[in-house]
Subunit: 390 residues, 2 copies
């Protein structure tokens, strides 16, 4: 198996952009990505492209993959749209890695783009509903906030997790996001703000839920045979894991853990020959604060049931032992669903390149990115390592 490397990454601002389209946002991300490749890259070097998109507000419902790649001048290459709800571009990254490892591509693009704010509120709610389990959740009236609220209630009941601990996650995310120029909600919030905000789906309040964002992100994966053409500081894909199953909460043995995350993490750690202790930072899927708490546990950052306390301990803040979501995460940076997985990889790239500015994790050499779809029906986990640093 050929080794694969992350050689560039870029993203648009995340936010509500009524004057932008899924194509114009992708172009911005693509151009920032091209600029980020240390020794430069030509469009002609890109052999394949994988575009994550749920097409919530995209006008081009069929063929949006080729629609965005031809818009940036990438005609004439294999290109396909991938969709796994909010894990769409986590899977784009997996496919770009496979393209490179297979020998079929030397450089593959993995991107994602989503416009969510050009819809009436009812239609957005409809789309967001159908990404959960349709027949037994959505048609019974359950929303995504409702599904994650059930997980939060179960976690509180089973482990004594508190609402204030969830608020600590939000405060931390906003603290990080305030340092990210691309963030949708790039401001700090206090514990009191988070605690006193209106309830969305009890026990979750406004600050325990991510926003609806427009945005795009794009990264480049290159093979070991060509990586030296693009950088002197290669960042290797040490582990790539993915899984799926249990798209409805009711199908799972437990409401306090996501099997697809655990399976994807196990594969990624095994392939990397690493354990959670080897990580310097992580981007995890925090569509709701409870999702981040559960991710801590499922990814092995702490024991089951201890995620709330782990959040409260401050270890996941910048300066802590394992900073999580230094980008601001879905909560503060934003969540344009098809672009989220690729955007996490943008943060991993910036951290491992030492270009994360005020968000820089000192001596960052190993980072993890974790992306889930729906309420956890699909998941990817990728571990990246700065070469020669192990």
């Amino acid at each position: 198996m050929r080794d694969a490397y992350l050689i560039g990454a870029g993203q648009s601002d995340f936010g509500a952009f009524p004057d932008e389209s899924y194509r114009s946002l992708f172009r911005t991300a693509f151009e920032e990505m091209v600029e980020s490749v240390p020794d430069g890259i030509s469009r002609d070097d890109i052999d394949e492209a994988y575009i994550g998109m749920v097409s919530i507000g995209g006008r081009q419902i069929g063929l949006p993959g080729p629609a965005v790649t031809e818009h940036v001048g990438l005609d004439g290459i294999p290109c396909v749209r991938l969709e796994n709800a909010c894990a769409a571009s986590g899977y784009s990254i997996r496919q770009a890695i496979q393209a490179v490892r297979s020998g079929m591509a030397d450089v593959a693009l993995a991107g994602g783009t989503e416009v969510m704010n050009d819809l009436g509120r009812d239609r957005a709610r409809y789309w967001l509903g159908v990404s959960g389990e349709m027949e037994w959740e959505r048609m019974a009236g359950t929303t995504f906030s409702g599904v994650f609220a059930q997980m939060a209630s179960a976690h509180m009941n089973e482990y004594g997790t508190t609402r204030e601990q969830l608020s600590h996650v939000a405060v931390k995310s906003h603290e990080h996001g305030a340092k990210n120029p691309h963030a949708h909600l790039g401001y700090e919030c206090s514990l009191e703000d988070a605690e006193s905000a209106p309830t969305i789906a009890a026990p979750l309040g406004l600050y325990h839920c991510c926003p609806m964002s427009d945005g795009a992100a794009s990264v480049l994966i290159a093979s070991e045979d060509v990586v030296d053409d693009y950088t002197d500081d290669p960042i290797r894909v040490a582990g790539a894991g993915a899984s799926s199953g249990g798209i409805g909460l009711f199908e799972r043995d437990s409401y306090t853990s996501i099997p697809a995350t655990k399976q994807a993490a196990e594969s990624a750690y095994e392939e990397a020959g690493m354990a959670p202790e080897d990580l310097d930072f992580a981007e995890v899927h925090d569509c709701f604060s409870i999702a981040e708490v559960i991710a801590y546990e499922d990814l092995g950052f702490c024991e089951p049931g201890e995620g709330g306390a782990f959040a409260e301990s401050g270890e996941t803040r910048l300066g802590g032992d394992l900073p999580v979501n230094t980008s601001g995460g879905l909560k503060s940076k934003g969540h344009p669903i098809g672009a989220t997985g690729a955007s996490q990889m943008v943060e991993v790239f910036e951290q491992l390149s030492g270009h994360a500015g005020d968000r820089q994790v000192e001596d960052a050499t190993v980072g993890l990115a974790h992306n889930i779809g729906g309420s956890g029906g699909a998941a990817t986990v990728h571990i990246l390592e700065k070469e020669g640093s192990a």
Copy 2:
């Protein structure tokens, strides 16, 4: 690069099935596929899954990939939906091949499923419209029939192709499809039937257009390391090509050729070390009869402009020099868009296994499958070869 092999394939009937869902149809295809593996296979052997689906009539709009795989007992594996309009599952096959060639999977499933008949006619028209170019074709009122009618007019104008030649394609497809128990329109039609049918979009009549079908198909790709566990008569993926671009007809230099097909074919022939003369049969994308004529030319079966005469010559009929669409093609077998690419591979598998019954091509050892999305904005070309037969 590890070699990849086609070890099994199955499909549901194609047709209008108001009592079936995208999941139940996929289960039927999956079960036929499992049965088709010569030495048998267990669900546990399947490492990854790629599901083509445009989700036209699917209730589960987000995460339909995991929704169908968990329905057949494939929980806990990487699974993602791919969409490239009508080339969705041609790309599923490409990704399954990459998964195997990369070393990340030993056995990968590539499938597709689509329910198109649970929609009102207006909504189906909307969806079928948006798979072309949205802003300048669909919003100007152009339908798919209209786009292919423009191609047909251009071909007639440029090369003297006749409407009767298009009818010969339809007659041949129905002749083949009448021998396929899975076909949606499994009956013969005469040249007079085709010539006298109502006009859909001039110059195309009813018999120059494929039907809207429900259906599913599924195939298995295995690595060289494990292929012997499943069969004594391996069918090797000799060439895998794909491309994209020019999703709008107006973006192309010519209306009488599809660049993505030509690029995908060039890659596939080059990888296989083969030329069109090496093929014993082919499944090509005939959403409209003119598409089959253009495919003959773009795939190198005849010179540009000679596709009409090639159809009329009878060489592409069973018993001819290069039988095309022995399955009946999209025209007679049917076109459940997300399932079509995988279904083409079902025919390739049955032909190369010698199990095509009345449709069997004598001594078939090399076959090609060609799938396009929209009006040609994406394409895949795969060449399969019965091992030890070169």
